[in-house]
Amino acid sequence: MSIYRVGIDIGGTFTDFALQINDDIKLHKTLSTPEDRSVAVINGLKHLAEMEGFSLEDFLKKVDAIIHGTTVADNTLIEMNGAVTGLLTTEGFRDELELRRGFKEDIWDVRLKPPIPIIPRRRRLGVPERVTFDGTVHKPLDEEAARKAILRLKKQGVESVAIATLFSYENSAHEKRLSELVRELMPEAHVSVSHEVLPKSPEFERVSTTAVNAYVAPRVTLYLDRLVQRLHENGYQNELLVMQASGGVMTREYLRGSPVRILASGPAGGVVGGANVGVAKGAPNLLCVDMGGTSYDMSIIRNGAAPAQPGWNWHHRYLVSVPMVQVETLGAGGGSICHVNKGVLQVGPQSAGSAPGPICYGNGGNRPTITDAILILGLLSDESDFAGGSFRLSKDGVRKAFEEHIAKPLNCSVEEAAFNCWRVVNANMTQAVRRVTAGKGTDPKDLAMLAYGGNGPVFAAIQAQELGIDRVLVPKTSPTFSAMGALTAAPSIDEERSYIVPAAAVDIEKLKEHWTKLVNRADKFFTEAGFKREQIIIHYSLNLRYPGQNWSLTVDVDTRDITQNLSFIDADFCQFIIRRFEEAHEKEYGHFREGEEPEITGVRMVATADIPKPRFSGGFNVKEVDATPSKYRSANLGEGFGNTPIFHGPTLSPGHRVAGPAIIEETFTTIVVYPGWVAIVDDAGDYQLFNKKNKKLN
């Protein structure tokens, strides 16, 4: 029997679909329906059903899994239209959310405005109670005061309550009781409890994450409930799996307690897909770059995995400390506006977006953008279809705008102006990549690059060259890469519990207890979702640091399936983890401290299950042959204008070889093969670009 799986990613403009039937992948794109996004989901599924010759109902009955990435949580924070939210916390500590541990985004700009409060001070109320670091109750919960505070929230029309008290990860009794009281006095309200959302220290990170969770929860829950209902009405019989920021997927039931985990999950899908592609093509260490209309997203994959890190993750000006695939964003995309400020050429961060968009879209845009610049440079053309044939670019007004806004102030020609924009955006992206790798012990030149998004492949090879990277992958699925990624993402639960203790003094029983609890929790959700126990793999790790350090390193301890016991914890366990930590410290920072004893800060567990994900391939078994250009046009690929061969992507097949300078026009993207580079279509039909001086040509 065939396996049917559907990956769905909802973006601002398009909803993307990737249908997997065994190892075959089919792609589809449909316009998003912002008023009710589930409409586009059903429309797209209907289209897939038709493609396969089924009715929607018959098709959905066959589908083994629908895996879904959504920006509904992000949109709530962008639009600031989440629930009316309140906070109950330990008396004396209600301002943590506002004080942000001192963080401000710009140290030079005294005109930076504060973030819009998701919980204003009047709805942050302290309750007398106190637990200490070892879980001891220092001051019992004052229930009378708690009731009063809850009623004060109720009076303010609060729809969602965050509960976060000090050291609740050690002893959650007070938080539990508070949530009971809220449910009693405000039965309609959504409740987010910090020891469930993020049971770890320190308090600011936990409070902030819980507050954001409370703020987005009602909208996310409503959205997912509605979607599941529609899918079931139309015949789907399995669990809906939802993409998380960690790059894993999990069921709606699991996410009910902490919907904040889907924040920033959109880009995570692409990164996970990238990891799988990279492994298949022998490039387990990757720099993924996704350049769309407004932004340039970067992430690093090491050893075939996209490491998800909990911690100092700021999103939309709020700290969300759940594990997140590290995706950094730079405001540089095709729509980024180019302008001269006091003699300095700048690109972005303002963007013309998709409406009005670049001047060459002909929708009323009148400020020069990157897309306009690369049109002047001939990298794009007004004679070819754009964006899958939906429209053609127009040069009307483009030159005039560059003349006025850039060439004149810089005292150069229009072509030079466009070229300078290309240089600046390249430099910005290169610097941004360097910042992403900063302090992480990664040198970009040891990576391969994977480029996707509409504009990624235009800049990929030149970027790679500047970073010392000599291989670039451009998968044919790149236009719907996040939907593809959803298909490859494993179901996963990635959780951590605080446990701060000198490594040599670790209480083995307590450690076992932490891990056992985490594993039991994962077991419950996986089993409920229909996974077999022997499918579930557990990765055990510990977070450690030297005393005095603020940031911990995650040290892998063991990986085994859930049916096996914790026998890896033996008599030498302490020495073993200290040694592991020292190795990790040496690798990250170039040194470790001989004789100094690290401390454990947290117990971490990642549970995953094997899934029938699509297989990728990446060899070069087909004999290489030079492809034939479909035409020529004048273009500047960094070395001045020259007559440049243009290749029509859909006519290229495995083995085809295109030597730079050249341009390949694909349906949804353009791949620029810069001088010194060669593009080869691999066995899977994906493009691989090599810097010729390093590529051993067969």
């Binding site: 943590e96 140290i107 910042r435």
Partner: protein, 606 residues
Amino acid sequence: MSYEINRRLTTKRQPLPTSAEIDAVTASIINGSFETICFEVAMHLGRAASSAIINQSNERDASIIDAHGRLAGVSVGIPQLLFISPLCVRWGLESFEQDEWGPGDIFVGNDPDHGGGHLPDYTVYGPVFDNDGKLILIQALQAHQGDTGGKDPGGFSVDAKDIFAEGLAIPVLKLVHRGKKRLDTIALLIRNNRLPSFAGDISAMISAVQSGVKSLQLLIDRHSADVVRAAVNFNIQKTEERFRDEVTNWPDGEYRSKVLIDADTVGNPDVEVHMNCIVRGNNLTLDMTGSDARPELMNVWNTFSNTRGYAMAQLASMVSPDILKNEGLFNAVEMVIPEGSILQPPPNKPAALGSFHPAVEVGEAVCIALSEILPERSSPQVYKLGMPNAIIGQDDKGRMWMDQGVDVRASDASATQGIDGWGAMCSGLGNLVLATVEDAESRFPVLNIHREMTTDTGGAGRWRGQPGTLNIKQVLAPVSAMTWMVSQKYPLRGLRGGDDAAPYSNRFNVGTPEEIEIKGSLFAQLPANAITSYQYGGGAGFEDAVLRDPEAVKEDVLDEYVSVHAARRHYGVVLTGSVENVDIEIDWTATNILREKMRAEKGVTA
């Protein structure tokens, strides 16, 4: 001797020799690389270091200095301190021949009398040579060390009589020679430091600088030394031009201010910082003549390098934030810093605490003086606390521990035109990461009881200051506690008619017969279970409070930033209802009458 050295170190430096032509785009790209490299260096240290003050408070500042000792680029950090490294490096450059500078070398310096900030601020730096062996750039990294080997742990002594009491002063010392660590000098530094984590910190600083040197070498290989030199010249020139362009738009005149510090550490009162900002065309002079020079003052001697840094950090916040931060700033501003005053002390003065006060008052004085003409960018980039309560104890193995008290708090977050004070501190300190309860209590025998903002402690104003927090803490074991209070008599000043912030206050042994309110400095032994209570000063207000929108005042009252009483008294807004019942409303009739009367009394027009 030190005045002469200071004069020499601040002599204007010439552009680098180069035959390359440079365009604006390439220069900007190279500057971007500098900023990225500094960021990488700072991140490297932040993640690898072991002392909380470096990795948690983020007191680490990377900069790139050119072969002539000019500041060429900086990254994230603390603005005041980013401007300090160049003078320290310039002193090192003076002995280029004597110390046999070569590729792979790494140096350290911290001596205030030889270009340094104060002793805890170690600047570690390494030269970058091109393939012809010519010095092109220097990667510098400055970070605050948790101890300096002086008479008191931490390097801050409220009764230090000279620099030698504060610790080891290093004009320049080579730590790495041609890539090989000098174990003799490193051992000397480690031996002169109380904290076991120092060895890790200095290793992390060295490896961070080495990584920066490597990146700069690659940059030079790629663009050529000549082009990099031309870019440095171009960017410095550009910054000077842009700064002067802004000054041209300021009305000519002399803008004066005087800021007072309550007292020095032994109680000599009313320490004065004078500032006269003289604007003439595109020239700006900061004349600090008249600032205190009483020889008997104790521990309020700011080092020369810090005076320049703090003045410039405030100025940099008052011009367009996208002007590149480099030597061009210093080329555009003349500073007159009287020799022998607290802003350029005689040799061998203790320097640690002076880097708090009067250092921040230098910035505050610039802000107050220029607020007359630059309302939109007037926000004092200061921390008005003397010292937090540093708590020192010993664990059961006899090892020292110190809770430095850099706790989450709100203090001195002032308003500026159109924006209320917000967050924990001023923007300039926005890279600091403050310590949490759960981290601190897992490490130290302390119990945090309270740290919420106190209603009415932010200065009232048309735009109000953020209130300060009240941080109450209980020690669970016998400890020593050290503190120094200022801004009690002279709190942070309101601007353009805004009210001052509420003053700082601090009490030890709260709720016992031994309870004391601390004035000035104190080093005390506290028994187990003693409670300390530290009220941080708030941010200051901006423009007269009677001009604030009454609706905004009502919101403030609901949020308990402002009390019903203060709404009436300071803002002239009469409210009905109660905060508990969340039914606060404005009595418009009463408000209009009251405000009219207050405006008339104050002579304020809308």
